[in-house]
Amino acid sequence: MALPYYVSPEQMMHDKAEYARKGIARGKSIIVLEYAGGMLLVAENPSASLNKISEIYDRIAFAGAGRYSEFENLRKAGIRYADLKGFAYDREDVTAKSLANAYSQTIGNIFSEAMKPLEVEILVVEVADGALPNELYRITFDGSIGDERGFAAIGGQAEELRLHLKDSYEPGLDQQAALRLAIQALEAVGSVKVKPQSLEVAVLERSRTGRKFRRLSQDDLSAICTNTE
């Protein structure tokens, strides 16, 4: 009979974290920016149909970086969670905070219990009603959760993007300026020109009634990009 081998918990967690980080680092990045009228989500995404950004509920959006099949499952679970909660109580009782906590629990449990951790990093974004502040949560592969102000970045080059945005971001931008800033950040970090066709962009617009989520079409994007050149 073979001897059961021993790995210390520290070593195991370290290896899992290393594995997850490597997986995520291979993927492209996503930026979220607060602007005057709401929240702007920008993803580098060459695919036209496999989305990284999605609507979860009336004022809440989701963005996932890393392994597509894994964050896609998280996205669907989030929609189910939000719709059930909103139906059982009321639409305004569905909050980004409770959703982000549920994600953090789930991802954290998988990280500590399953053989393979999830190779994902996600953002849960909520545009606020009226004068209240917007909410922006970043959840990493081990389930740790942090709330961010103004901007956030996840995915392969998240750290570099964060550094770039820290210097150039200012509150109260309009939608076009925010998009321009996001593209600049992606170009600066990737040192290549970003084409509108390789971007997936959506907004949570505070002024919309009901569902605040809107995808920007390729036409919208090209129009904004050519305007700013």
């Binding site: 979860i56 894994e70 499952n73 929609i79 189910r80 059930l84 139906f87």
Partner: protein, 285 residues
Amino acid sequence: MHSFFDSMVPGSSFFDLLRQNRSDLLPQIRISREGLSPAETRELKESPHGTTILALKYRDGAMIAGDRQATEGFQVSSRRIEKVYKADDYSAIAIAGVAGPCIEMAKLFEVELTHYEKLEGVPLSLEGKANKLSQMVKANLPMAMQGLVVVPIFVGYDARSGGGKIFKYDVTGGRYEETDYYATGSGGKDARSTMKKLYRDGMTEGEAIAVGLEALIDAAEEDVGTGGPDFIRGVFPTVKLAAMAGLQDVPEVRIREVCQAIIDRRRLAERGASAESDTQAGGVS
């Protein structure tokens, strides 16, 4: 994590998700195998009922409308109840029957459509939406068998055919597409008679609103359950339009104006008739 081909895992239907996880939240009244006792039946029959709803097609889409009254037996239980609901950006649902489950069903249907759209990234086709509603009505069959009918009318704008569509349902979930107009509920028959006289192909939006409101006013005159336009309290029927630009509410001011015009015209006609009968009477004497 699960495979989505596994039949135990909910797919893109919120109704199925609810049935599997929170069946207590389904809009149903639990009915035992023996059915309802006479006392329970009486109680449910006297619970608030929504009355007249109607839909009709016009040149650019379809219109859907309903009065605002709910009745409890011979009493008015609410003058401002809502029977017409937005289902999504291109469709709407109106429900007549026991108010509680009706409102629940409309709410559930709305979540069903947006849930699918969010999960799949594309909305259901109009036919798909109409079919989904039929399954939900069918799930209410035990209630319907006790006489607690919850029957919807569904209208939407079909981007594929470029026009409005009207679907009516029976208690078994049977789904029928209506070509021109339809009305149901306690005053449905009266509203249908009016629309039968006034309906034409290719009406404009304004004409469609006028015909729909005329039909509701007739239903209110003939049916005790249906509420007419209430100028004292400022309560008017709900009207929504499903057209290429999406689903729109017709603003209350506009509905008020059209109702006022119909009533003024009728008042004039009444006066004219009585003046005429006076002269006739004079002629005889």
